[in-house]
Amino acid sequence: MKRGFLLWCAALATYAFLYLPLAVVVLFSFNDSELNAAWVGFTTHWYSRLLADEVLLQAAGNSLLIALVSSSIATVLGTMAGIAMHRWRLRLLPFLVLTPVAMPEILLGVSLLLFFRQVLDLTLGLFSILVAHITFSIGFVAIIVRARLAGMDESIFEAARDLGASPWRTFTRITLPLILPGIVAGYLMAFTLSIDDFVITFFVAGVGMSTLPLQIYSMIKVAVTPEINAISTLLMGLTLTLIGLASRFAPELWRSKS
């Protein structure tokens, strides 16, 4: 009885530590006050202010475009990598694909910056951000697709060949439909990672190009306005929705296997 009570307290404290700051942000985004100090009253004023902020909207548009394109390309490449890693016992490929996942973001950001500037002599901007986002997303998609394949009975694919399907038709009729939930989950993951990314984007964005996280950061440098609370709330909502969707498509990633 007593142990159960303590366990509950510990759990509550942990969740409070994780989610209270987020709750505060959401709460104050509806606070009718310029200061993030005391609750004054309910308003949606900050949200309508957001919609009038040209610079912020531009940054949000960039973020959406980058997320859409980079996650689409990363999903195709990551799916191919995931299938290849599952089918053949390659040693180098998993290393190459998964390293960006484990690499500290700041390292990846710096090295990508150096690569784009010193090696390729590229003008930083939309394209460099896209390439950077694809780079760090591929690994996540590959992991999810491979996990999906690993849970499947290998003889299903042999059965398809055996029953008259060419390798290509086996892929389109059997493999693809079966790993589709994994691909969708991977896509949503990649999208979320891209739209939230700050560190790597910060290094490779160059001048004149801004994404939502970069824009929020530059706004904070002046002051934490309720407007930032509002945009953060929206971003949080989008992220949670995508993660929720992803976990529906690939539940095996979020649940421990029995």
């Binding site: 009975d153 042999e158 059965a159 055996d162 029953l163 008259g164």
Partner: protein, 361 residues
């Protein structure tokens, strides 16, 4: 000409020789079984027939034409996998229609043939169910239907009954035999269950360590095993160590140490002085009170050390005077008495001179 022929097939995995110089000829319409313990190479042979593996040496022929270089999807051979390998995202009807769609049959013909095949396996009402909604036996039937729907020349079955419980397995055995007779497709069946092999097959190849030890009809395999491995693997068998005292066209005279001489069927290749074993099936032995005059040629005395009542029959373990234990199977052919001898009772064990098989040790 045989429908399917394997000529000197050898398959290696790294340094392991999984299949060693195997030659088989399987006739059209046959229910042919590859029987052996796990790792004997039977599944590897199946995979080579299906086209998933290629032999390192030798060649396979279907209708006299070599199969090498022909992809699995181009061979008129289908497989029923041990795990059934049903497509989880397709319905039962979708699974069965798959091979027909792959060869591009028109939709109305596919519908018709799927319906007929569902009837064949008694699953008329399960067409729209998904594999995960089916029981083990039903999945088994769908796998069979899918394998048979476009009438392959050969259906390969890889331990298809292995995942079923005992009662269901027995029923499916009966259904398999009936199904094979009805469709007339050549079945190549792989199993490690000797009883299943005996019950289902027209011919059985007993395999061990990559080789075929003996190939024959079930009755001959059972009554005349060629060597110790086949004798031990198929059914229960007693072995008596013995020395050949005399070998003539009329029969063998064998000397069993500490017990005396017995007679066995003639064996032209065995010379006097050879050491070996006499293999005796438990049901060929007759057990009776030690005092009764023997009526059969071979007779030893012993003591009942144990008995197991199995319902339809009783197994007696009899300790012979030289220390050998024989198992004798006595049918409980009439009601009332199921137990004829007590533990510790002196009994005689007798058998016909042609009941045993002499095998080299």
């Amino acid at each position: 000409m045989a429908l399917l022929e394997l000529r000197n097939i050898t398959k290696r995995f790294g340094r392991l020789e999984a299949v060693k110089e195997v030659s088989l000829a399987i006739e059209a319409g046959e229910f042919f079984t590859l029987l052996g313990p796990s790792g004997c190479g039977k599944t590897t042979i199946l995979r080579m027939i299906a086209g998933f593996d290629a032999p390192d040496e030798g060649e396979l022929f279907l209708d006299g034409k070599p199969l090498s270089g022909i992809a699995p999807e181009k061979r008129p051979v289908h497989t029923v996998f041990q795990s059934y390998a049903l497509f989880p995202h397709l319905t039962v009807a979708g699974n069965i229609a798959f091979p027909l769609e792959m060869i591009g049959r028109p939709a109305d013909e596919i519908l018709q043939r799927v319906r007929e095949t569902l009837e064949l396996v008694h699953l008329e009402d399960k067409g729209s169910a998904f594999p995960h909604e089916l029981s083990g036996g039903q999945k088994q039937r769908v796998a069979l239907a899918r394998g048979l729907v476009n009438k392959p020349r050969v259906l390969l079955l890889d331990e298809p009954l292995g995942a079923l419980d005992a009662k269901l397995r027995e029923r499916m055995q009966g259904e398999l035999v009936a199904l094979q007779r009805e469709v007339g497709v050549t079945f190549v069946f792989v199993t490690h269950a000797q009883q299943e092999a005996l019950a289902l097959s027209h011919r059985i190849a007993v395999m061990n360590a990559g080789r075929v030890e003996q190939l024959d009809v079930p009755e001959v395999l059972y009554s005349s095993p060629k060597n110790r491995f086949v004798a031990d693997f198929i059914g229960n068998i007693n072995v008596l160590n013995c020395l050949v005292a005399e070998s003539s066209p009329h029969g063998l005279r064998l000397n069993v140490e500490g017990l005396g001489e017995i007679a066995a069927p003639a064996h032209p290749e065995i010379a006097a002085g050879t050491h070996g074993v006499l293999a005796l099936r438990p049901e060929y032995l007759r057990v009776g009170p030690a005092t009764v005059q023997a009526s059969l040629k071979n007779r030893f005395l012993g003591t009942v050390s144990e008995y197991l009542f199995l319902g339809d029959e009783t197994v007696y373990k009899i300790l012979l005077d030289n220390g050998t234990v024989l198992e004798a199977l006595v049918a409980n052919a009439a009601p009332g008495r199921a137990r004829f001898h007590d533990i510790g009772e002196r009994v005689q064990v007798e058998w016909r001179h042609d009941a045993g098989v002499f095998l080299l040790a």
